[in-house]
């Protein structure tokens, strides 16, 4: 048997799980794209991103694509974040296996 307490509570929350999943698919995501994909409010998304950033799961970068444009904020997973997400997936799979007759 394994310890279910290993399940990362930080990732397990629905909103943050969505953010972590999307960040795992591409090198980086813009705030607007994350918002559009997850249908979260600005406040909710910022709060979740701040929590993930404070725990070292996410990095934040301001990118200047065009000189005249406003800088775009993009988010990416850190190595720690990626590893935690993989461990989270492994534990979920173990829970599913353990629940099968």
């Amino acid at each position: 048997m394994f310890d279910f307490d290993k399940l990362d509570k930080l990732i397990h929350e629905k909103g943050r799980l969505g953010i972590m999943t999307l960040l795992a698919t591409r090198p980086s995501w813009s705030f607007q794209d994350l918002k559009a994909e997850l249908a979260l409010s600005d406040g909710n998304l910022i709060t979740h991103l701040r929590t993930l950033h404070d725990n070292g799961y996410v990095t934040v970068t301001k990118e200047l694509k065009e000189v005249r444009e406003r800088p775009q904020t993009t988010y990416a997973l850190t190595d720690k974040g990626r590893q935690s997400f993989q461990e989270y997936l492994t534990i979920l799979e173990q829970i599913v296996k353990a629940g099968r007759p």
Binding site: L17, T21, T25, Q32, E37, L49, A98, G99
Partner: protein, 229 residues
């Protein structure tokens, strides 16, 4: 502790989000640049090579150069595109034929197949002059191919697809435009030359514009999360 059902539901949500979010760029800016340069170079060479405009026997020779030359440009561009994709995949430590690439190839397959069938039908069933209808056919099916990847491609790809599709539709009437030009007394314009110039303008011009618009340029600086995005 979550139940197995809850865990399964979480895994299902993760899988569906990941599939939806996967982006695959079938054409990169460097590939478009190679395609644009090859198209403009070959089309320009063909145009200068066959001046004065082809007539009679020369039109047959021009048709051969036209078809095989543009096929060579296609092969060259596909090879360059494959090389760029392979290099990018290696940098990300991913396999060359990724699940996203398979998805893109499946999406591209029907329009490419239709384009190939129409091309061979024009070559083997039609007369030499049927070849001058190939550029609109290529434009339309290429445009459809790009649009077929719209679900998982960056926004610039379907935009390029629409440009090719609209240009293809407009080009179908170019015989009538040539006739109109003749009627208005603006001199002779031959279909072979016009077909070649259409190829230069679209496969050359559109790709060069696409490369210029999507070429990666960024100046990044680390920032904190304290400010709003």
């Amino acid at each position: 502790m979550p139940t197995a059902t809850e865990a399964e539901e979480h895994l299902r949500v993760i899988r569906s989000l990941m599939e939806k979010a996967t982006i695959y760029r079938a054409i990169s800016a460097p590939s478009a640049l190679v395609g644009g340069i090859c198209s403009t170079g070959f089309g320009g060479w063909l145009w200068f090579q066959w001046r004065p405009l082809p007539q009679g026997i020369e039109e047959v020779a021009f048709a051969h150069w036209f078809f095989f030359g543009w096929m060579a440009v296609l092969l060259l561009t596909i090879t360059a595109n494959a090389l760029f994709i392979w290099r990018a995949a290696r940098e990300r430590s991913e396999p060359f034929i990724s699940p996203a690439m398979r998805k893109a190839l499946w999406a591209l397959f029907p329009p490419v197949l239709c384009g190939a069938v129409f091309t061979f039908a024009s070559l083997f069933l039609g007369s030499v002059s049927a070849r001058w209808n190939l550029p609109p056919i290529w434009m339309v099916f290429y445009g459809l191919g790009l649009l077929a990847t719209a679900q998982f491609a960056p926004k610039s790809i379907p935009i390029l697809g629409w440009f090719f599709l609209v240009a293809g539709f407009l080009s179908f009437g170019f015989d009538h435009w040539l006739e109109l030009t003749r009627m208005l007394g603006h001199g002779e314009t031959h279909r072979p030359t016009a077909a070649n110039l259409l190829m230069v303008a679209t496969f050359g011009g559109f790709h060069l514009i696409y490369a210029a618009c999507t070429w990666p340029r960024r100046a990044s600086a680390p920032a904190t999360l304290s400010s709003t995005p």
